[in-house]
C-alpha cells in the first residue's frame, strides 16, 4: 500500500487552502492509500532552527534527535504531498522551517566528497498543491521561487518517478467557478498520481 505524507500549512480552517487539503486527503484515502496527514499548524510545529540545532546540523546521526518523529514520518512515506499557499513568493515560514529542520544531512541528502547525494529516493511520487495571490506573469518574472524549490530542490533529493506542481494563480480575483475547477483538477491529479 502506498503511504503518503501530506504536509499542510495554513492557519485557518475555513480557507481555500483548507478545502484543497481536505480534498487531497479524501481523494488519496479513497484510492486506498495510507495517508499520514501532517497539519503543521495544528501540530504546533516549531519552524525555528535553533542555535543548538545549527551547531549540531552536520552531526549524523545525533542531528535527528530533536525531530526524530518527523524524520521517521518522512522516511516512512512513498509519496510526499505539499499543500500550502504561496506567501511573498515563498513557502509559509512554518513549511520553510520543516525543510530547515527535518531535511537534514543524513536524512534528505548525504554529503559525499562535498557533493549532495539524494537520500529520499524511497519517495516515488511528489506533488505540490498551491495558490498564489499574484498572477502567473508576476510569479514568473520573480523566478517563481516556490515552483523552482519544489521542482528542483525537493526533486533533487527525492528523484520521484512522478511529479506534479499544481497552482492556482491570481487567487484574489478567482471566481467561484475557477476555484471549483481547480479543486476538481486537484482531485483528478491526486487520483492519477
Amino acid at each position: 500500500m502506498t503511504r503518503a505524507l501530506v504536509l499542510y500549512a495554513h492557519p485557518c480552517d475555513d480557507s481555500f487552502a483548507a478545502a484543497l487539503h481536505q480534498n487531497v486527503v479524501q481523494t488519496l484515502t479513497d484510492r486506498g492509500w495510507d495517508v499520514d496527514d501532517c497539519d503543521l499548524y495544528k501540530e504546533g510545529f516549531d519552524p525555528v532552527l535553533s542555535d543548538a540545532g545549527r551547531r549540531g546540523y552536520h552531526e549524523e546521526p545525533s542531528n535527528i534527535e530533536p525531530v526524530k518523529d518527523y524524520v521517521e514520518r518522512l522516511r516512512a512515506c512513498d509519496a510526499l504531498i505539499l499543500c500550502f499557499p504561496v506567501w511573498n513568493f515563498g513557502y509559509p515560514a512554518i513549511l520553510k522551517g520543516f525543510f530547515d529542520r527535518i531535511f537534514l544531512p543524513g536524512v534528505s541528502f548525504k554529503l559525499i566528497d562535498g557533493k549532495v547525494v539524494p537520500n529520499l529516493t524511497h519517495i516515488k511520487k511528489l506533488a505540490a498543491i498551491t495558490t498564489y495571490g499574484g498572477t502567473r506573469v508576476r510569479a514568473t518574472l520573480a523566478g517563481d521561487p516556490p515552483r523552482m524549490s519544489v521542482k528542483r530542490a525537493v526533486w533533487h533529493v527525492t528523484r520521484p518517478t512522478k511529479m506534479r506542481y499544481l497552482a492556482l494563480y491570481d487567487m484574489n480575483r478567482a471566481t467561484e467557478a475557477k476555484r471549483a475547477a481547480y479543486i476538481a483538477k486537484v482531485r483528478k491529479e491526486m487520483k492519477d498520481l
Binding site: 552536520h58 513568493f89 512554518i94 521561487p145
Partner: protein, 207 residues
C-alpha cells in the same frame, strides 16, 4: 540615508555576523542612520497566526502585532538582508518576518474599486541589498533557481522604488570555506556596499 538591516542567524559567532559588521560599518561610514533587526536575538516568532490571517487585509489593525517592524519598514529608504541560505531559501525566521510584516497597506496595496491588481507599497525604498552564504555550489544554486535570492531581489524588488539599486553577494560552498575565502568574501561585501551606498566624501582641508 536611513538603513534597515534585517539580520538572521542563530549563532552569535557566525560568519554571517562578520558580514553584518562590515555592512553596518560601511553604512556608518557614509553617515547613514542605521537600525539593525536581529530576528533570532529578539526571538521573533515567524508563524503567521489564524487571527493575523483573518485580519490580514483589515488595515491599519493588521499592523498591530508587528507595529515596530512596520514602523521600521516605513522609516527606511535602504533595506538590507543578511542571512544564511538554508534549503536554497530564506531561514524560516526571516521568511516568517516577510509573511507577518509585509502586509497590505505596508508592502503592497490590494486591488480596490479603481485598481484591479496588487500595487507596490515600498516605493520609498531606493536601495536593496542581499548578503548570504550557501552550502551548495554556485551551479547547484543556479539549477534550483536561487529561490531565496529571487524571493527578495525580485519579489520584494518589484515593490520598491523604480529604479531601485540592488546588490547581491553570496559565499558559496560554505562548508568547505577557508580563512582566505571568507576574508575575500568580506572584501567583496565591502565593495558591494560601496556600490550600494557610495563611499565617504573626503573633507576638503584648508588650502
Amino acid at each position: 540615508m536611513r538603513a534597515l538591516v534585517v539580520y538572521c542567524h542563530p549563532r552569535k559567532t557566525s560568519f554571517t555576523g562578520a558580514v553584518r559588521d562590515v555592512v553596518v560599518q560601511k553604512l556608518e561610514g557614509v553617515g547613514a542612520d542605521v537600525r539593525v533587526l536581529d530576528l533570532y536575538a529578539r526571538g521573533f516568532d515567524p508563524v503567521l497566526t489564524a487571527a493575523e490571517h483573518e485580519g490580514y487585509e483589515a488595515c491599519p489593525d493588521n499592523c498591530a502585532p508587528v507595529e515596530s517592524d512596520v514602523a521600521d519598514i516605513r522609516w527606511c529608504d535602504a533595506l538590507i538582508f543578511i542571512y544564511p541560505t538554508w534549503w536554497y531559501g530564506l531561514p524560516a525566521v526571516l521568511k516568517g518576518w516577510l509573511d507577518r510584516v509585509f502586509l497590505p497597506d505596508v508592502a503592497f496595496l490590494m486591488p480596490d474599486g479603481e485598481n484591479t491588481t496588487i500595487r507596490p507599497g515600498l516605493q520609498h525604498i531606493t536601495r536593496l541589498g542581499v548578503f548570504t552564504t550557501c552550502g551548495a555550489s554556485w551551479w547547484l544554486t543556479q539549477f534550483v533557481g536561487a529561490p531565496g535570492k529571487r524571493t527578495i531581489l525580485r519579489g520584494i524588488g518589484v515593490l520598491c522604488a523604480k529604479p531601485v539599486k540592488k546588490v547581491f553577494a553570496a559565499h558559496y560552498l560554505m562548508d568547505s570555506s577557508t580563512d582566505k575565502s571568507r576574508k575575500k568574501h568580506l572584501t567583496r561585501v565591502a565593495g558591494k556596499m560601496d556600490r550600494l551606498v557610495g563611499v565617504p566624501q573626503r573633507q576638503a582641508g584648508p588650502v
